[in-house]
């Protein structure tokens, strides 16, 4: 019963946040200066007179007050119609359907690689704490994480695409080779490298510090007395205990890495949600922008809530606390 209430609360919270997000994005995009007609009619707008412009605005439904536009949009969205993209003159879902996989591949790979490498590197640094190798990794890590990702991208393009000419500088695949795996992998190498270089140290450092702190806990003393060595203590005891915070970090970092992916997509002209998002904001492609923001928003809010739920499940002490409170409530009502 408690689980149902718990879940219900989470769902209500979730819906509220998303509705709020959609209102804010809806208003902000329409209030920002610029001409949405440009994205639909292109240069043709310049040849239109005022009456024609008004008519065009009417056609796109942009003359009504914003709250009315929002209600209309909401009513349509309830039927699964999210409007058309002004720029592509196609249903928003169709345009997104063509490219979302590219972002999932790039973002997903970057995310997995970041956290896998961060974990391994964090453990390595902890096991060699304060030794030369640890110090070197720490220094190099700080430097790489401080360089802005767009600059690293340009640097890598200069070295590997222009000077060495071994890796492509833009796109997700060579022209007409969307099913060629080698081509796709080749196009992924540079963006992935940038995403890993710019995010990896942040998470490695968190893990290293958490572990270094954990290995000074009292229970480690007893583990040593048992005869476990440092490696065994880290793997069997400390790692397990930092996992709740690690998973929380993983969930919270979804928007962080997703944002990084968007920037990198733009620099590498990688056809994905990031490039699309950037374009739609630039060209006042309202429907597109709103849907992309909602997708991102839903993902972020969802993973944050997921982190909370997982956290409750992993740490037995938290579960214990809740059951204790339940017990108290029950006795209170029975009295």
């Amino acid at each position: 019963m408690n689980d149902v209430i718990y879940l219900g609360k989470k769902v209500i919270q979730f819906v509220l946040v998303i509705v709020l997000l959609s209102i804010i994005v809806f208003y902000m995009s329409r209030l920002s200066p610029g001409d949405p007609l440009m994205s639909y009619y292109g240069d043709g707008v310049e040849r239109m007179n005022t009456a024609q412009k008004l008519e065009a605005m009417d056609k796109l439904g942009l003359n009504a007050p914003i709250y009315k536009q929002y209600i209309d949009w909401l009513a349509n969205a309830a039927h699964g119609e999210y409007g058309i993209s002004y720029k592509y003159k196609q249903d928003v879902t169709v345009v997104i359907g063509d490219v979302y996989k590219n972002t999932i591949i790039l973002g997903g790979l970057a995310y997995t690689l970041n956290f896998l490498l961060a974990l391994l590197l964090g453990i390595f640094c902890t096991l060699h704490e304060d030794q030369t190798i640890d110090k070197i990794i720490c220094k190099v890590g700080v430097v790489t994480s401080c360089i802005p990702s767009f600059w690293v991208s340009l640097l890598l393009i200069l070295i590997f695409s222009i000077n060495l000419g071994i890796l492509p500088s833009s796109g997700a695949y060579a022209l007409g080779q969307s099913n060629n795996l080698t081509s796709r992998i080749g196009h992924l190498v540079l963006p992935l490298t940038v995403l890993v270089l710019s995010h990896l140290w942040y998470y490695t450092y968190m893990i290293r510090n958490k572990l270094v702190e954990e290995i000074r806990q009292d229970y480690v003393l007893l583990c040593k007395v048992k005869g476990l060595n440092k490696k065994q203590i880290v793997y069997k005891h400390c790692l397990r205990n930092i996992m709740p915070s690690y998973i929380t970090i993983m969930a919270i970092s979804v928007p962080h890495i997703l944002g990084g992916t968007y920037v990198v997509e733009k620099v590498f002209s990688y056809p994905g949600l990031g490039s699309l998002c950037f374009e739609s904001a630039k060209y006042h492609d309202y429907n597109m922008l709103l849907v992309l923001c909602l997708i991102t928003g839903i993902l972020v809010v969802f993973v944050n809530m997921l982190a909370q739920v997982i956290n409750d499940k992993i740490d037995p002490r938290m579960k214990h606390d809740r059951s204790e409170i339940d017990w108290n409530c029950n006795t209170a009502t029975s009295i």
Partner: protein, 335 residues
């Protein structure tokens, strides 16, 4: 009977920002099979550090400067970290002051005991589980089968200390170091744990080094007692020697500070002054400043160990043949 454990001229220092702190200075003692040695002393006199250095689990800034620890004829200060891991838990084990933080909060008690069983013995998991349940029964944990799957937060302080003892005994070590195992427990539990330790010693014939600042506990448990002051053993002998024929002024001070139930004195006796700063040890005897019976030489040179009988020796110039005869101020009247 030969000595199971021998500590010869052990010196341990901590390097701090202000300089080297000599926490243990030239300590020698021995331990026979099945014997209990109590190490008595006030807080900060180096009792715990002495024991941690025997197991080589000192914090990073602490190190053994000189001396040797010989267990079964093998010098443990010379062992590689890897061989040392094999000695800990198997040959020599330790229990600590505060059982509340010593167990890993996210692993069940049973698994933590099993881990200690499995680390030095090649047996199957089910055999290890059986052994761990036996251990839990040995240390007096009721309902061991069910308790096996519970977490440390389900256990009270006394039960956790029992679990820690079970872990320490998992591989039938020959020496158990007990670092004030009853300090953090309330009085009734203290008595139970002391009884348990005595019972286990009777059953297994384990040798025990018992660190305490409680004279009563020392009298109850120990066959031999070493009194420590400012990192040195100032007097060592059988319990009989120390309680009925103490020779060192510091031991006299300890004895007279015991509250007497039949005395109607208003104030309790105490040793005036403070222990010396181990960072800047005074010249001569470290106890001289607080010693009512200090001789001139106490301020100039450290007293050597004077042998009083085959079992009893003390480090005070009062025992020198040229020293004036002093009447000890206390007569032991029982605890």
């Amino acid at each position: 009977m030969s000595n199971l454990l021998e500590v010869n001229h052990l010196a341990v220092s901590f390097s701090t920002e202000e300089g080297e702190v000599q926490v243990v200075r030239d300590v020698s003692f021995s331990l026979k099979k099945g014997e209990t040695l109590a190490i008595l002393g006030e807080s900060g006199c180096g009792k715990s550090v002495l024991c941690k250095s025997i197991l080589r689990i000192l914090p990073e800034n602490g190190s053994i400067k000189s001396g040797e620890v010989i267990l079964n004829g093998e010098n443990m200060t010379k062992l590689s970290p890897k061989s040392m891991d094999r000695v800990r838990g198997k040959e020599i084990s330790m229990i600590f002051q505060d059982p509340m933080t010593l167990l890993n909060p996210t692993i069940t008690i049973g698994k933590q005991i099993m881990e200690a069983v499995l680390i030095h013995q090649k047996i199957s998991k089910s055999a290890a589980k059986k052994k761990s349940i036996e251990l839990m029964e040995l240390v007096g944990l009721d309902d061991a089968e069910n308790r096996h799957a519970q977490y440390p937060h389900h256990f009270s302080g006394g039960m956790r200390q029992r679990s820690v003892i079970a872990i320490a005994l998992a591989c039938n070590p020959k020496v158990l170091i007990a670092d004030e195992p009853t300090t953090a427990l309330d009085v009734t539990i203290q008595a139970q744990i002391l009884e348990l330790i005595q019972e286990i010693q009777a059953k297994t014939g384990i040798s025990i080094i018992f660190i305490t600042h409680d004279l009563g506990v020392a009298a109850q448990l120990a066959q031999r007692i070493a009194v420590m002051y400012a990192g040195k053993i100032v007097e060592i002998g059988t319990a009989q020697d120390i309680f009925y024929d103490p020779r060192h002024p510091y031991t006299w001070g300890l004895m007279s500070s015991l509250p007497k139930i039949d005395s109607d004195e208003g104030l309790l006796n105490c040793i005036s002054g403070m222990p010396p700063n181990l960072l800047h040890l005074p010249r001569g005897d470290a106890f001289a400043q607080r010693n009512k019976y200090a001789l001139k030489i106490d301020y100039l040179a450290e007293p050597p160990m004077f042998k009083i009988s085959a079992t009893h020796s003390a480090a005070t110039w009062l025992l020198h043949q040229d020293a004036p005869k002093v009447q000890p101020p206390v007569r032991f009247q029982g605890l």
